[in-house]
């Protein structure tokens, strides 16, 4: 495990106190793509924040993951506006095409599939995001060709 990026983050954020835990984890996840246990153990040793405390926070918030994530993240919106305009069938289609459930990553490490409470783009409903690109006014049969563009 490359320890240098975590070291840089700790230096930039110094002094790191317990109230900085969430931004610290956000920075680590941005850099490593997920939160590797070895890195957390070392961060705990250097900051004095117990790993149990970290684990409690990581498992509480939907954003954090201790497992490696796919190269691309698909976020299907399950907000109200998307729901009444057929968002569930779009999410079902993604799951079917990739053969994985909400929260899982494909075997080949290409996609992580998540559903989110609301993307705040209700006028495009039903909507999903792949990485930072929005796709709106979706139909289940459009899913295949959208995902094809993300190798």
């Amino acid at each position: 495990m490359d320890w240098a990026p975590a070291q840089r983050i700790l230096q930039q954020m110094s002094p790191v106190g317990e109230s900085d835990l969430i931004p610290l984890l956000q920075n680590l996840q941005d850099t490593y793509g997920y939160l590797p246990a070895e890195v957390l153990t070392e961060v705990s040793r250097q900051t004095g924040i117990p790993t149990s405390r970290m684990y409690g926070v990581i498992t509480f918030y939907a954003q954090f993951s201790m497992k490696p994530r796919g190269r691309h993240t698909i976020r299907c919106c399950r907000g109200t506006a998307c729901h009444v305009r057929g968002g569930q069938s779009v999410a079902d289609a993604v799951g079917r095409v990739l053969g994985i459930a909400d929260g899982e990553t494909t075997q080949d490490g290409r996609f992580t599939f998540e559903t989110v409470a609301c993307l705040g783009t209700c006028f495009l409903a039903p909507v999903m995001m792949v990485d930072n690109d929005y796709f709106g006014l979706l139909r289940p049969e459009k899913v295949n060709s959208i995902l094809d563009a993300y190798p």
Binding site: E18, G79, T80, A81, Y134, E141
Partner: protein, 618 residues
């Protein structure tokens, strides 16, 4: 001239800078305002780039400014472009339309009618003539869509921070609080607590260090007004926070914004940096004795963190679990210090109140609810977008006059108001004036202003199941009524949507719902049953149809649906089979096809694909 990194020494210098900026503006004869926030999802950045490139090659760059702005409101026609000075509103605009707009409008001064709105067969080129805008009162949103959110110069040219200067030089904190109290402003995030009283409570608590938190953790599905404000007019929010800080005696502010809103995060960060560089944050702001700093913190994906004590726990680096009140945050808040937490839209109202006075503000609205309210209009409605109306406007005005009614002119069934804490308001209340108190009487809440329109194709039992599933997943798990009660409620609702419900389930929903409401710790639990309770109250017949007749009248609950192909009507064109995502449709060419029921996932794609009405839904 104020250079980019010079602190503004005092109110007079700010005023002089504004005059200078307004003068600079006059050098161009027109502006092209492209929404680059919400509309970005539909290619708005390509449109603004096309304008820049083509205006440059047409030699018009010196005369016409291209500005990437926040949301114009009428999201249904995204990407939107507004042309000043005529105020022509175009949308949807593609890069291919840019040449024509330059020729006809920017050179010729005339509207490109094919890009304008249509109402009653008439073309409406000018923004204020659009039916969508006519019945609105856009006060809080006045600058959203007019200014470049990434340039403090734009904000200052339109008068942002000028009221702050007035407040710092000529008002005491107590005067600020009494003005806000007199205005009748109530919190726009949900509960509707009087803002002035909240500030007074915090001011009265002794403490060397106090905090102002801007709650931008807009988690209600179906609400996007705070996102638009932070993206479109971030300096207006900062001005509101500065005023709150001055009023309660705080030195520090935090903007707590959802990580799911990357543009809002970016614009808020830029605004804070610019305000700091110009001395509008930091020590001795505008030469006064008032010092204030603002940090931006991102949420990590937990709906409960919109609750104030959970938000504070999250800022302190802990699991976002609410705690009992008292002590209220005004007494013991962030890191134990007295803290005021206001929602984004609440803070956006504050500079308006202190600019125009409490009397002007409270002249708008109803007896108990003053000012305007922004609603995020979505769901089964033509003009989805952001709508600002005086409190006391009716649902009919919002959904039909402004929203343009329901696509296909299907009948209006209900409006879901207030997100997962709210409820469904049925058609018989279309003419009820909406304010904090009237909506509460119907079993909903105004909440943050999410308003999702539902028509005959929306199943109310499914909606109750949907929200109960949401609150069950988002429950922090601390108290039993919420953690276990929402699970029990969900089981009952799932059972009904599968056609396995029992008539006594209806009474169970009501008694369980009232128990959850009475005994939960925080607002999430106390309101978790509202969607179930309000739908049982207003749409009991739909529940009964599911339970007694095993029928979903709206045709939504999949377990109760069956798709079949009518052999007489089927031409064997194979169109349905091609669309079927699970290959459940078989049949030879030009012969009637058949659906294999065991494979069918009831998505309805075949019914939509069929040109001969041969797919029947039972």
């Amino acid at each position: 001239m104020i250079s980019p990194n010079t602190p503004i020494p005092n109110a007079a210098a700010l005023k002089a800078w504004r005059a200078e900026l307004v003068e600079t503006r006059k050098r161009t004869r027109g502006r092209v305002l492209v929404c680059a926030t919400g509309c970005r999802a539909l290619g708005a950045l390509d449109v603004s780039k096309a304008f820049r490139d083509k205006l440059a090659s047409a030699g018009l760059s010196q005369e016409i400014d291209v500005v990437e702005t926040g949301c114009h409101g009428l999201c249904a026609r995204a990407p939107l472009v507004l042309i000043e000075p005529q105020d022509f509103l175009y949308g949807p605009v593609a890069p291919a339309d840019v040449d024509e707009i330059i020729e006809v409008t920017l050179r010729g001064g005339k509207p490109v009618t094919r890009l304008c709105g249509k109402a009653d067969g008439q073309t409406t080129a000018v923004l204020r003539e659009e039916p969508f805008y006519r019945a609105q009162k856009r006060d809080v949103y006045r600058l959203c869509g007019r200014v470049d959110p990434k340039r403090i110069e734009d904000a200052v040219a339109y008068g942002t921070y000028e009221t702050l200067a007035k407040v710092l030089t000529s008002r005491t904190p107590e005067q600020v609080i009494s003005e806000v109290t007199a205005s009748g402003l109530r919190g726009r995030g949900g509960a509707g607590f009087p803002t002035g009283r909240k500030w007074a409570l915090c001011r009265d608590v002794a403490g060397d260090r106090k905090y102002v938190i801007c709650n931008a953790d807009e988690g209600d599905p179906g609400a996007f007004m705070d996102r638009a404000l932070l993206e479109g007019v971030p300096h207006q929010i900062l001005e509101g926070m500065l005023m709150a800080g001055y009023a309660i005696g705080a030195t520090n502010g935090v903007v707590y914004v959802r990580a799911e809103y990357p543009i809002a995060v970016e614009h808020a960060k830029i605004a804070v940096e610019q305000a700091r560089a110009h001395g509008l944050l930091g020590r001795n702001i505008l030469g006064s004795k008032f010092s204030f700093e603002i940090d931006i913190r991102m949420g990590a994906g937990a709906f409960i963190c919109g609750e104030e004590t959970a938000l504070i726990a999250s800022l302190e680096g802990r699991r976002g679990m609410p705690r009992p009140r008292p002590p209220f945050p005004a007494q013991r808040g962030l890191l134990g210090c007295p803290t005021t937490i206001n929602n984004v839209e609440t803070l956006a109202n504050v500079p308006l109140i202190l600019r125009d006075g409490a009397a002007a503000f409270s002249a708008v609205g109803t007896a108990g609810s003053k000012g305007t309210k922004v609603f995020a209009l979505a769901g089964k409605v033509r003009n989805t977008g952001l709508v600002e109306v005086p409190l006391g406007a009716t649902l009919r005005q919002i959904v039909f006059d402004i929203g343009g009614g329901i696509p296909g002119d299907r009948p209006f069934k209900a409006a879901q108001m207030g997100g997962p804490s709210g409820g469904c308001v049925p058609a018989q209340y279309l003419d009820l004036p909406i304010d904090y108190d009237s909506v509460k009487q119907l079993g909903a809440i105004m909440g943050s202003g999410g308003l999702v329109v539902m028509d005959s194709s929306t199943c109310m039992v499914d909606i109750a199941r949907f929200f109960t599933d949401f609150v069950h997943k988002e429950s922090c798990g601390k108290c039993v009524p919420c953690r276990v009660g929402t699970k029990q409620m969900l089981d009952i609702l799932v059972r009904i949507t599968k056609g396995e419900g029992r008539m006594e389930d209806l009474e169970k929903i009501v008694s369980l719902g009232e128990m959850i409401r009475a005994s939960s710790l925080c607002g999430l639990g106390q309101t978790a049953a509202n969607p179930s309770l309000s739908t049982v109250r207003h749409f009991r017949d739909e529940y009964e149809a599911h339970i007694r007749d095993h029928r979903c009248p709206a045709g939504v609950c999949r377990a109760l649906l069956k798709y079949t192909i009518l052999a007489d009507a089927c031409t064997g064109c194979h169109a349905c089979a091609k669309k079927c995502p699970v290959a459940a449709i078989v049949g030879k060419a030009k012969k009637p096809h058949e659906i294999i029921q065991a494979k069918c996932i009831k998505c309805g794609a075949c019914r939509e694909a069929c040109k001969f009405d041969a797919v029947r839904l039972e």
